[in-house]
Amino acid sequence: MSSEPLTQCPPLVEVEIARKCFADPESHRPRIVLEDLGFALRAAEVVAVVGPSGCGKTTLLQLIAGLDRDFEGRVAWADTRSEQPPRLGYVFQNPRLLPWLTLRKNIELVLNERAHPRRQVDDLLALTGLSGFAELHANRLSVGMQRRAALARAFAVQPQLLLMDEPFVSLDAPTAQQLRRLLIQIWDRTRPTILFVTHDLREATMLADRILCLSSNPARLIAEIPVGIPRTERLNETATERRHTEIRSRFERLYA
């Protein structure tokens, strides 16, 4: 696959967050969540974000997606010079399916109407193992099924930037592995930039080109670990397993 060195790809977005606070409703003092956080994403790059629970990973994704503009700093899109990101697929930490729509309608909703979505949706449902459930209302699906549906929805828009907040939790190991493979296939086909949050180092090793490590309280970038496995080797378990062990020991020292 991609044989060009990744550093030569054009940058897609530059993130420079000086400070992001939330007002504490009781004390009315602001609580700083993100501070001095700067990095860039290049086109077609896959980057993982790890960090302790509650440190601010979701908040970071929200800022990049432009859902929260109340912060000091900037998110600069290389291409459009707008504050809007390019075509975005977002897998939220909670599935956020509309419960009053069926599974199929939930996915069709995000598609352009002029495309012929039916076939495409059917394919995606089959790939995420949801074929039999297309006509069920979203709140009648199990949590794992909802998560898969949220993945299918994000894939469906053929995003240029794919943000995923812990995309493969709450799934059994075979299903999760199969969906990771699906992600790699999709990357292979349309080369989106992917930024995803995970707590699973093995998953980060398998999928990402780089791993951003956030500290806690407030979150800063304390390390950036390049994975350095060629894309062709990603599905090779022994290669990723070896690298994973290395990364994990680095990781344990980081968060000791």
């Binding site: 432009g66 939220f92 956020r96 509309l98 419960p99 729509l101 909703l109 209302h137 009648r140 943000l163």
Partner: protein, 253 residues
Amino acid sequence: MTPSLPAQHPLALRLASALSLILLWQWGAWQAQSNLLPTPSAVLDLAWGELVHGPLLEHLGATLRRVVLAFCIAMLVGGTLGGLMGRLKTLDAILDPWLVLLLNIPALVIIILAFVWFGLNETTAVIAIALNKIPNVMIILREGARTLDPDFREMAQSFRLGWRKTLLYVTLPQLLPYIAVAARSGLALIWKIVLVVELLGRNDGIGFMLHTYFQLFDVTGILAYSLSFILVMLGIEYALLQPLERLANRWRR
């Protein structure tokens, strides 16, 4: 273990309950033995007579037209304004004093002023009725818009659904219970205000007849005309509102 009730069961209950209502009325009328509480059959007789030979249909039509027109105007204007006020704090602050004023101005005052300023015509009547209902719709939908889930809004925003899809598939379904409340209480309120409007400045309609019978203190006539409209409202409720609501709530667990 608990078997779920079959779908027919509520219908039977409903009918039984309606029947018991009529029986209670009949019994009360027998007890009272006074023309201040006529029997249901006397009322139905009169209503039937007025329907077939009298002017009931015409008055009913006049009132119904006003109700429907004012209802549509009030739901559209009040719903839009109220929904926006629930989302936009600035607009809320600007319109709020007007809203409280309009909400609490007696219907009588609005109607008199409208009639005296703009004359006794059908347009004035419908607008006066709608003006009485609009603030009510506004407060209901403002409250509804405040409860909108930010999670869904963010979803719509990041997938760039655009305002049409967002309104149709994300916002309206969340507002639905509030719209149902506004519609149902709205029909009832409008119909009550129509009565005042027709009392003060129209030559036809149920309200006109009600007050005419009131001058004569003919309770049978009052009940016959009220009932004829109540039956129309019952029809709207059971043939339109409730099936629509069931359809819209099918997804709920």
